[in-house]
Symmetry: none
Subunit: 193 residues, 4 copies
DNA sequence: AATGAATGAGGTTTCATTCAT
DNA sequence: TATGAATGAAACCTCATTCAT
């Protein structure tokens, strides 16, 4: 008797998730370029062939990871929007971003690594662009939040906020040892609110 | 009449610089991994074989580039030290960094890409560590400058300054279009001085 | 109530024919080597696994197609034998062959492709040999027909007839556009009868 | 001291010829699809890598062989054109074609195999089309020869001649044993001239 | 009878590096 | 010093076949 379609679908779903998990692990450890399909398959505990049953290639794995990342970003911004005041919304965004980089600096490093890939790498570039586009879209929302706060130049103020935030994330991800993230967070936020 | 040893050394040095220049161009365009030795040799206008006469391999090329980058950083900090006041010194550092990223964002992107390379990539990691170490050393100098300014917590203040600076550099390098670098620079510096 | 053995056999036969039909379609479109078992199964509307229930592998599919082709050839020769005179018999053979290549040049192309497969390809070679053997056998019958006509050298005459016929089939199959098959047929047949 | 450019050019030329020779041998033995790059490289006595130094892939090898074949065809037609009378020209073409297929039936088989490749195989199709185009071009010349002979319908007559010729070639290449090529040649030519 | 997940061998291709010249 | 032919390991990817369900 063959498996039912639902059963197969469940198997497929679990396999895809298993592979995606293995992929980000390996990509983080070795980098996208240096990681081989074999590495990912071995980490996932499956054969190379099966991996190709689920993903059309290495680039497709990256695409999947980037789409997940985008999903995360969208989710955070949605959650932020539920907060009652603009300040609380911005605080939520900052807290969340810093918490994430603190919990898993290597993940942030990885996406930063991808975003700084040379343009000539078409495959990476294409998918990396998706992430960039989404961040552009979200930054518009952030400008709106500043606008609601009634600050003089919301666009500039929003960019200022983002640069400060990303600066902290970048430095923490690069030098996680001895980086006084909590103190700096306080200092940074105090200059804005 | 044979060339003197000095002359030979000078010629050798120029050849190395030519290759290094070609290497960073190609690495920026294609990325370290995707760039091939052949690409670099062709760009330098020499043969693969001759390249190996000057550099022991691809990793050695990267090492040379990173050493140059370190040299640059040291140089800037030295120049900053010649300025009369701490504030002027910090302004010099900031102006220089922002000017550089504005002039050649791809160079900044490249080194950021290298610095976010995963630890598991031994070759890159080893040389990337050199850069990291140097930046740690220079950040100590920067703390000293803040200390001379007499601010309450020079260490924290220095890190705050660096995060703000690197945040701007990162964002400009990632979204060079429509990024109001001059305005943000003014805004950022005004919060510090 | 279980199906009778005959019924089962009939169902099995129909399934095999369905698969065979799909196989020749796919083989003609992609070629034997390039076609995948998956392609064939998908075309037949069944799963890969089920295909293996009916055929022992890719080579077996080819074998089946070649056996069908042989069956066709035998059939045509049998039908020809029912014609009253030798000339009518030969005319029937020629008409049939040309009609077939005109209707489905790609089928003729396919079997020609198979017949020109190199000897080293053991699998194809083995089955292709079956076809060759059958054609040799049928050509003997054709010699008999010429013998009945009372021509001087029936063997040579028969071969001459075959070369002319196959030459036309080959050229029509290779250049179906603008090939004046009817005119040539008349011209060719007029030289023989 | 590096080799001179001429020396390198000579090495390249010889290597290419060596590889081409190996390629047609292997393709004839195994067929284009079944032959692997490794097979060709091993037959040529070189490494896989070196083969890629000279040919951009398997398809490029095929292209080279087909271009050679076209060269041959053009050459034969040129030589035929030097004969004084149309009949001698046609005789030359026929003699040459039959002589070739008799000497190396496997070569004729191979190109026939390629020409009967399914259209869906884009790579083979592209190069095979070159051969087809050339044959179309040459067939125009052949029509001219018949026209000079003053026959009623030179186009049809030329096609008739070609089908007869190719029919013989096809049958000889398929059943080289016991095929009375000389006798058939005489018979066939006697019907035309 | 029926499915498609799973395997692994085998194919194509790239490229850092070596070396004869 | 200088060249580029030559190597081979390692990467990506495909697909005939098996097998648990």
């Amino acid at each position: 008797m063959p498996r039912t379609r639902e059963e197969n679908e469940r198997i497929r779903q679990m396999a895809k998730e298993n592979i995606s998990r293995a992929a980000i692990e390996v990509f983080i450890e070795k980098g996208y370029h240096a990681a081989s399909i074999d590495d990912v398959a071995r980490r996932a505990g499956i054969s190379k062939g099966l991996l190709y049953n689920y993903f059309s290639g290495k680039a497709d794995l990256l695409r999947e990871l980037i789409l997940s990342r985008i999903e995360e970003i969208v989710q955070v911004m949605k959650e932020a929007a539920t907060k009652p005041t603009p300040v609380e919304q911005l605080m939520y965004i900052a807290e969340h971003a810093l918490h994430n980089v603190q919990e898993r600096p290597s993940v942030y490093r990885f996406y930063l690594h991808i975003q700084t890939h040379p343009e000539a790498d078409e495959v990476v570039s294409t998918y990396s662009q998706l992430l960039k586009d989404e961040m552009t879209r979200q930054s518009k929302h952030q400008v709106d939040i500043f606008r609601k706060m009634g600050v003089p130049n919301p666009h500039l103020q929003s960019l200022h906020f983002s640069t400060a935030l990303h600066g902290m994330m970048l430095m923490y991800a690069t030098y996680p040892e001895n980086f006084p993230l909590p103190e700096l967070k306080v200092k940074m936020l105090s200059t804005f609110f």
